[in-house]
């Protein structure tokens, strides 16, 4: 079982969350080319190591959280509310 430390609810089973994928800088919608949008939407780096990703706590507080997780060990070094950046 993988635990995620929700800043609102405390440690919870990862099955309570929906994985939102790695988060990164969003291209400017005015100037971005279709190729840049495609890479932003569909191309993931899929690292073995630290990853910054979004999770939605659907069975708990129903907030979006941003988590720094090591994809090899599932160690979490930070978990913040995405909207307020509070932990």
């Amino acid at each position: 079982m993988m635990l995620l430390p929700c800043p609102w609810c405390g440690p919870r089973n990862a099955t309570e969350f929906r994985y939102g994928g790695a988060t990164g800088a969003r291209p400017d919608p005015v100037s971005a080319t279709p190729q840049q949008w495609r890479e932003y939407l569909y191309t993931q780096t899929n690292p073995l190591g630290w990853s910054r990703e979004g999770w939605y706590h659907r069975a708990g507080c129903r907030r979006y959280i941003t988590v720094e997780r090591h994809t090899g060990t599932n160690e979490v070094r930070s978990a913040l509310d995405t909207a307020t950046e509070d932990g």
Binding site: W8, C9, R12, N13, T15, R58, A59, G60, C61, R62
Partner: protein, 219 residues
């Protein structure tokens, strides 16, 4: 309520548990049979349920006086209600049977004039509510919920939302005379499933179904 055996106009609503002895009350089919078992499950779906949403810190919290993760009784509109801080910026107000409209109106009056946006929805017929009471109630929940509900983690008046028997459920600890008691609130379409899962988990402790308890013990 006075219409325990009366008939209400309109369709009859059914709760999450099959009544052993059916009676009607304010348009709901309820169980008239009272169990004296040590561990009981009652369908509380007829109670008024109102969802209040607003800023995490703001009018609803200061008016209702309850923060996320806590539950307390407050006078609201139609009488004594249990106000549950069910999430960040989200409150579930549980009131006596038939008081939903009065509760919505009363909260509307107290938050009107405030600058922030507050929404109020009567969830009564959209959600199922049940109550699990008994010294073994924490043991029953331990089988179907990953959150530890023992005193040190969830004391009386504590509330949280999590998965209970795979159903997203608001759990509110609301003890009766020192006996552990939990209100469980979920989407109405999953209410019967959740009640059957709880009856199955409680079978080894001799669980029985009983009549509606309400917010205050009724004679």
């Amino acid at each position: 309520m006075s219409d325990t055996h009366g008939t209400a106009p309109g369709p009859l609503a059914r709760g999450a548990l099959e009544p052993r002895v059916a009676a009607t009350r304010s348009g709901w089919v309820v169980d008239a049979r009272r169990s004296v078992a040590d561990l009981v499950l009652s369908d509380e779906s007829p109670l008024a349920k109102v969802l209040v949403k607003g800023p995490v810190t703001g009018a609803p919290g200061s008016v209702l006086g309850t923060s996320s993760g806590r539950a307390a009784r407050t006078e609201v509109g139609g009488g004594t209600a249990l106000v549950v801080g069910s999430g960040p910026g989200e409150w579930l107000v549980v009131g006596p049977v038939g008081t939903a409209a009065a509760t919505v109106a009363a909260i509307e009056r107290t938050v009107s004039g405030r600058p922030e946006f507050v929404s109020l929805i009567d969830l009564t017929h959209g959600r199922a509510l049940m109550r699990l009471t008994g010294s073994r109630a924490p043991s029953v929940l331990a089988k179907v919920c990953a959150v530890d509900v023992e005193d040190a983690v969830v004391p009386n008046g504590g509330a949280f939302r999590s998965s209970v028997a795979t159903v997203v459920t608001d759990v509110v600890r609301d003890d009766r005379d020192g006996t552990p008691s939990f209100l469980l609130h979920c989407e109405r379409s999953t209410g019967q499933f959740l009640s059957e899962a709880l009856l199955d988990a409680g079978e080894e402790y001799g669980i029985e179904t009983t009549t509606l308890v309400g917010l205050v013990p009724e004679g």
